[in-house]
Symmetry: C2
Subunit: 211 residues, 2 copies
Amino acid sequence: MKNENNSFVSKNQLQRFPVYIDLLKKMNGEGRLNVSSQIMADYLKLSEETVKKDFALVSRNPGKPNTGWPIQELIEALKSFLGYNDATNAVLVGVGHLGRAFLNYEGFKDCGIKIVASFDSNPYIVDLKVNGIQIFSIEKMESTIPRLNAHIGIITVPESEAQEIANTLIKSGVKAIWNFAPIHLILPDNIIIQNVNLASSLAILSYELNR
Amino acid sequence: MKNENNSFVSKNQLQRFPVYIDLLKKMNGEGRLNVSSQIMADYLKLSEETVKKDFALVSRNPGKPNTGWPIQELIEALKSFLGYNDATNAVLVGVGHLGRAFLNYEGFKDCGIKIVASFDSNPYIVDLKVNGIQIFSIEKMESTIPRLNAHIGIITVPESEAQEIANTLIKSGVKAIWNFAPIHLILPDNIIIQNVNLASSLAILSYELNR
């Protein structure tokens, strides 16, 4: 991955940025104005070198040897780098328990995402609203999504339906898919995909516990 | 991380194992008995070398040049390696939308986890059951968890409460924590931790979409 300055950004780096934002907000809330990369590194169990490199990537303001980095400016730089300031419209498909949890989650707007509609095949819930977000019939995806200018699709349907839903999302103009179904989706190369496989996270826990 | 044969196992490897299990089950369901590492690699966009190395780690049965690996045996070997066959009791703290989704999720038992109780501070839901799992008052954690022989704690409380909950879980005998609160928990070294930071996954999606 390359950013606009053509410097290389790794997935690991990008995954650290929201963690930095959370920690910096917490420090800011406690009245702190500046932070050194060493303190950040200690707190997050990273090397100072890693933190310095990450901060240098997003901010032109080099941390000062004595006072460190200005926290507020750093938060803004990280958010702007991640594109959090321009909210992207998203749709969610599959209003089961997990889907419902996401529709109720208020934190997405801080991450530059706004869920503007949801879809489900269950006629008993179609036309209802969850947290103000309307549930449409799954048959309305292709007609509704382009109209809503939604570019992110969140998939929370069962595994057996996920590929078909992904295909329909792409046909409807979605450019990025956040997939929670435990299945490897086959997608065109130009589509951005992030899989969250909870079983993969659980596998590490289970293995280490059973050693 | 080392396994019982003292060979090194990486987190990336462990995270691939549930993905293999899902795919192998699907193939088995379609009537297939054997699979080559090349087919697995193609399907999952991995190198054949990676798949071969992973399979060799869990199975003593080397794949045959002509027929490949026996699928059923491979599934069992992966499950046994991950400790999925001996279900570990888990408790969940924080019965909000996400917690509720997990209590209703039927797939955990296939991953060697059984949620035996949940805890929440809201008096209006204490003593209710979700999917047959009782909600206890959060004050009952230290008295209840040891009695239930629960060794995994799932944290789905807000960020501001997560550290205190983690401390109580550890006092109650929990050895592994699966944390969904977007906060870096400070834990003793002997505690196993897996953080699932959904914002980190979203950060990659958002960045790539906004380039």
